[in-house]
């Protein structure tokens, strides 16, 4: 399949908080099935860019196409629903609700995405097979999330992002809490799954050594500019 899963053009967003800044992204494209590493130091606007893509904030200007849909003019509720349906999100750490079971956590996005729930079919079976594919032991599915090791938690987060096969996975430094060996194993599992499901992956990191494993590496400063106000 060709075509893009993500296409940003002339995005401009002014963050209104206590230290206001303006992020501009003239152009960014991720193709279907592509894995892209977005390298950037802290303060380079990575988080803001991810928030824009995920639709929790709205750009002041520009066009933001995700999975073939311009989400710029959607209402915030529609953007939330769109995110639930189309995007799997993996955080740096503390991905899981500590009081929920592994199963609860994996099935959580389906609660907000009816279409994705249908795509997942028998969601419980799907969750179990994803856990197996990610090398998690069978009996872990009913364990409490806070009983898991950090590495296991991150793999559960991957299973949660993959369930119902959203076309795009956004990962925000998912390996930073892992040691070097675990990092490599984690990425192996992540890539094998995204390839198997032809899912696009946009991963943000400050660790350039990871770059060789991705289809493409983009530096934040090449695609975006951050202008801080005094």
């Amino acid at each position: 399949m060709t075509g893009h899963i993500l296409n940003l053009s002339n995005i401009e967003y002014r963050w209104p908080g206590r230290a206001p800044f303006t992020l501009t992204v003239p152009a960014l494209t991720v193709f279907k099935g592509e894995t892209v590493l977005l390298l950037g130091e802290s303060g380079s606007g990575k988080s803001t860019l991810l928030s824009l893509i995920c639709g929790t904030i709205q750009p002041d200007q520009g066009i933001l196409n995700v999975a073939g849909k311009n989400i710029t003019h959607l209402s915030s509720g529609a953007r939330d629903r769109f995110r639930a349906e189309r995007i799997g999100v993996i955080f740096q750490q503390f991905n899981l609700l500590p009081f929920g079971s592994v199963m609860d956590n994996i099935l959580l996005p389906l609660r907000f995405a009816p279409e994705r729930r249908i795509r997942a079919g028998d969601a419980a079976t799907e969750a179990k097979s994803l856990c197996a594919a990610l090398g998690l032991p069978d009996d872990i599915i009913h364990a409490k999330a806070n009983a898991l090791s950090v590495g296991q938690q991150q793999r559960v987060a991957v299973a949660r992002a993959l369930i119902g096969q959203p076309p795009l996975i956004i990962a925000d430094e998912p390996t930073s809490a892992l040691d070097a060996t675990s990092q490599s194993a984690f990425l192996d599992l992540l890539f094998s799954q995204t390839r198997a499901h032809e899912t696009s992956l946009l991963m943000v990191s400050h660790d350039r050594r990871l770059g060789e494993r991705f289809d493409r590496v983009i530096r934040m400063e090449e695609i975006a500019a951050v202008e801080r106000e005094a």
Binding site: G17, S47, L50, S51, C54, T56, I57, S76, G77, D80, R81, R83, A84, E85, V89, F91, F94, N95, L96, L97, P98, F99, G100, D104, L107, L108, P109, R111, F112, A113, R160, D172
Partner: protein, 416 residues
């Protein structure tokens, strides 16, 4: 699933959540308990006298007559002459009549002259009769039966001698004619507990040497002589009347109120009790209002608990947001959480109430004479639970709206 996760989230904070629920439960138990005591006190009050159809006395106000004849508070303005008393007793409607003569006291307790019929006909708490805890009913002229409070306060036992004082709070005593405690009544929770009961004749006997409210100087009739005198009373303070058929009550009441020889008043005890309760009941309502404030305080405590949990739960909210939850869902979750806490608290409060009632019922009955009935939860308790849950939901909107705003501004990114 959201509800299950909300409950799991509550379990994860078991200690603070438990404390909050406990506070709500205790406040609800207090509120319902006060309400129980209030209705129990009201019922016990209304049950101070039962089985009596009319109370007859000299014409005054109905509450005043009730106060002095039943509660031994205040004084009669006038007596009823023995002739009038006999006229009423002779009427065909009258099934029984018990005279009451008041005016003397023993220490802080009132002395009441009456007949043995009083023990037969005086009833309280829906048909309970007086029972002796010890000894026997008036046998001798100078016998006295004392209420449970009198016996306990003054430490009297059967056989002890007592001296009756003339008038109330008086220093003049009827020393010449000492009485003997012949019986002690079981606790009733009515003013009978605080009464020294003697016979009508005894009241006459101790006043043999008295004229116009003072002891005639130098006169002291020996007890032997008194026993042989005609001790028919000249007047009674009030009388308790029972009629043959309830249908005759109003006719008899009118006849007494229109009695031509003397201005008399006949009252229905139940009506007068209600009239009196409308005066004293205000304090009870105030108590209820105070305990309602305690419930409000507990709910505000819950609000504070939710508020203080918000910061540590930012991550949790961000996860929900990243998974596609709308800020409104976050708000809803917090309200659900509050509803769950309030509901558990309220229901636990009802449970506490029943446990408390089972423990306190005999103690409250014997100490205060208030009977607290233990019934199945009524519609009223149901409404209280519902109101607490509703108020909890409303109160939780304050932190929930804050969480809503936080989750809008945080989105799925929390800088920790």
């Amino acid at each position: 699933m959201i509800l299950r996760l909300a409950i799991a989230s509550l379990f994860a904070r078991a200690l603070t959540v438990g404390m909050t629920i406990l506070a709500i439960a205790l406040s609800v138990a207090l509120f319902l308990g006060v309400e129980k005591v209030r209705t129990g006190a009201k019922a016990s009050f209304a049950d101070t006298i039962s089985g009596t159809d009319l109370i007859v006395g000299a014409r005054s106000g109905s509450v005043q007559l009730l106060l002095y004849s039943v509660f031994r508070i205040g004084n009669a303005t006038n007596n009823v002459t023995w002739e009038s008393y006999q006229d009423i007793a002779a009427r065909p409607e009258v099934d029984w009549i018990v005279p009451i003569s008041l005016g003397d006291s023993h220490r802080q307790f009132r002395v009441m002259g009456t007949t043995r019929a009083f023990f037969e006909h005086y009833q309280y708490r829906q048909g309970r009769s007086l029972e002796l805890a010890n000894g026997e009913i008036l046998d001798d002229l100078f016998d006295t039966v004392i209420g449970a409070d009198v016996a306990e306060t003054l430490g009297y036992e059967v056989g002890d001698p007592i001296v009756v004082a003339h008038g109330l709070a008086s220093f003049t005593e009827h020393r010449d004619q000492p009485f003997r405690v012949s019986g002690i009544l079981a606790n009733t929770g009515t003013p009978v507990d605080r009464t020294v009961i003697v016979s009508m004749e005894a009241i006459e006997a101790i006043h043999v040497d008295w004229q116009n409210g003072a002891q005639a100087p130098g006169r002291s009739t020996p007890i032997e002589n008194i026993r042989e005198m005609d001790l028919t009373p000249q007047a009674v303070t009030a009388a308790l009347v029972g009629v043959d058929s309830p249908l005759q009550i109003f006719a008899l009441q009118r006849a007494i109120n229109e009695y031509p020889e003397e201005p008399l008043l006949a009252i229905l005890p139940g009506v007068a009790l209600q009239e009196l309760w409308s005066i004293v009941g205000i304090a009870e309502t105030a108590l209820l209002a105070v305990s309602a404030m305690v419930v409000v305080t507990a709910l505000i405590g819950m609000m504070a608990t939710i508020f203080s949990s918000l910061n540590e739960r930012r991550r949790e909210m961000a996860i929900f947001r990243a998974m596609g939850a709308r800020p409104a869902t976050i708000l809803g979750m917090l309200v659900i959480e509050a509803i769950v806490m309030a509901a558990i608290g309220a229901m636990l409060g009802v449970a506490f109430l029943y446990v408390g009632l089972i423990i306190a019922q005999p103690i409250v009955d014997s100490t205060f004479g208030i009977w607290l009935p233990i019934n199945a939860p009524t519609l009223q308790e149901f409404w209280v639970i519902l109101a607490v849950i509703g108020a909890g939901a409303i109160v939780s909107l304050v932190p929930a709206i804050r969480a809503y705003k936080m989750s809008v501004s945080d989105g799925m990114m929390v800088k920790t």
